[in-house]
């Protein structure tokens, strides 16, 4: 059953833009991305939007729907009230390129700043042995589809452009946590650099990243807070610091 819905779509580019009203059909079972595609095919041929998989697996279709950072392909039209106006805008933490497409290069720059995985030099191909329970924590973080919704919602950079220099953002805190918890990673100073170079201390654990993550990764509870505790271990806990000096042993 097709019904008419009212959409307010942000159109414009980095110089100017505004919300434009369109009326469009929505069929049973459709998601916001379908309706946007219909607008594109019938009314606005040059409406810019990113998407790939249409199944919540690639993290391309990130935008803000009624003010909330979401995947358009996973937001069902039936989740809105009959007659409710639906506002669709590009991500508001990143520079806009055109319409619903933003410049997310910030995230790729940050990815480049996180030191890569370091494999033990003496372990050849096929020699690695890891227990399932030892890889599970990192596996949760590797579910990340890089939709960057968490980065978009994080007030540290959303509301403070100037913090972008010094703050890696939740997506990369889970990357750091993933590596710090990786059973074989050899790089030792991840905790310290997390705090000193990647801005872990800027996060005030207000949990918006966790709220928006479409993969339901428990970013704050399982990555950021554990990393904060690990940072305390090496930086702010004199007792552990002393202990580690005496025993010369990292928590293993």
């Amino acid at each position: 059953m097709a019904r008419k819905v009212n959409l307010r779509i942000w159109r414009g580019d980095s110089t100017s833009g505004s919300l434009q009203n369109v009326e469009v059909d929505a069929n049973e079972g459709e998601v916001v991305l379908d309706v946007i595609h219909r607008v594109q095919a019938t009314q606005m041929g040059d409406l810019a939007v990113r998407w790939n998989c249409k199944a919540g697996k690639c993290g391309s279709c990130s935008m803000e729907i009624n003010g909330k950072p979401r995947l358009a392909c996973m937001t069902r039209m039936s989740s809105f009230e009959e007659g409710e106006e639906i506002t669709v805008t590009p991500l508001r933490a990143f520079p806009v390129i055109k319409d619903l497409v933003t410049d997310v290069s910030f995230n790729y720059k940050k990815a480049l700043e996180i030191p890569a995985y370091e494999h033990p030099a003496d372990l050849g191909p096929g020699e690695a042995r890891m227990e399932q329970i030892d890889v599970e924590r990192s596996q949760e973080f590797r579910k990340c589809i890089e939709c960057f919704l968490c980065q978009d919602t994080c007030h540290v950079i959303r509301d403070h452009e100037e913090n972008k220099k010094s703050f890696a953002g939740p997506r990369f805190f889970i990357r750091i946590a993933e590596l710090d918890m990786h059973p074989l990673d050899m790089l030792k100073n991840r905790k310290r650099t997390a705090q000193e170079e990647h801005g872990l201390g800027m996060c005030n654990i207000t949990k918006c990243c966790t709220e928006v993550c479409p993969e339901h990764i428990r970013i704050t509870d399982n990555a950021i807070i554990p990393m904060k505790e690990r940072v305390v271990d090496v930086k702010y806990d004199p007792a552990r610091w002393l202990g580690s000096k005496i025993r010369r042993r990292e928590g293993s």
């Binding site: 414009g12 805008t89 913090n163 918890m181 201390g201 996060c203 005030n204 918006c208 807070i225």
Partner: protein, 266 residues
């Protein structure tokens, strides 16, 4: 212009386009926490009505001041003088820093008050009103990293309050094996405090979170799994234990002031 109004961002004048009642949660949090603070301040300065019939208010335990009612002290141990610089110090004020510090530095409460009191941010994807933001990188907020010390102190308090709860199983005459509504109130409040502490993130980290190889520490791994489950509900325990403590104090106060009588089941 900064934040969402920066020149490079999509030009939208609203601070947020959220259409749901996003302000409800911070408002409620603010209301409840604020009421608690008012009540707690009043009680902390009251310096009376904290002991009755082997029920000790958690606000006043351990009671370490010379001003304490003898029954409320730990075997009469009162190392702190009643007056400091000519100021009559309520016994609550001596110890309150510990539970207060514990909760202030708690990862959950931080979220709650940063949002509700400091509006940083008020809710997700709602622009915050501050010009500058440095998070927990400088004084005073860098002190949040001291949470583990408050956690350890919290454990000691929990032990003392557990002792208090056990004492409450005495009757007025001091004989064991009796139970009153007051005993239930104290037991509930203490159990919830334990749950709150056990579900704490620092606890989770200490028990096993800091390990790299769980498989080499099977017992700690098991403990970590259990604590992790509790940790899911840390926010819930934070609230219930807060209400639990507040209610225990109210109950003791009412009984001590004679407004309510403590009913004994046996």
């Amino acid at each position: 212009m900064s934040g969402v109004f920066s020149p490079s961002r999509a030009e939208i004048k609203e601070r947020t386009l959220r259409t749901d009642k996003w302000w409800l949660q911070p408002l409620a949090t603010f209301g409840v926490l604020f009421s608690f603070v008012i009540y707690a301040t009043f009680r902390a300065f009251e310096g009376a009505n904290y002991y009755a019939d082997h029920l000790i208010s958690p606000f006043y335990s351990p009671c370490l001041s010379e001003a304490c009612v003898p029954e409320a002290t730990i075997g009469g141990w009162t190392p702190i003088s009643a007056q400091v610089f000519n100021f009559a110090l309520s016994p609550a004020l001596i110890i309150l820093i510990f539970p207060l510090g514990f909760r202030m530095t708690c990862y959950y409460y931080r979220k709650a008050y940063y949002r509700a009191f400091w509006m940083s941010p008020p809710a997700c994807a709602v622009a915050e009103p501050h010009k500058k933001y440095t998070g927990e990188t400088r004084q005073p907020l860098i002190l949040q990293n001291a949470h583990r010390w408050f956690f350890y102190a919290g454990l000691i308090f929990n032990i003392i309050l557990t002792y208090d709860a056990i004492i409450s199983f005495k009757n007025k005459e001091g004989e064991w094996g009796h139970m009153s509504v007051g005993s239930l109130v104290l037991v509930f409040s203490t159990v919830m405090l334990w749950m709150y502490s056990l579900s704490c993130h620092t606890c989770r980290h200490t028990i096993g979170g800091r390990l790299k190889h769980f498989s080499k520490h099977p017992i700690r791994y098991k403990a970590w799994t259990t604590i992790s489950k509790l940790n899911h509900s840390h926010a819930l325990f934070a609230w219930i234990s807060l209400f639990g403590v507040a209610f225990a104090d109210i109950y003791v106060r009412q009984v001590a002031s004679g407004a309510w009588t403590n009913f004994y089941f046996f």
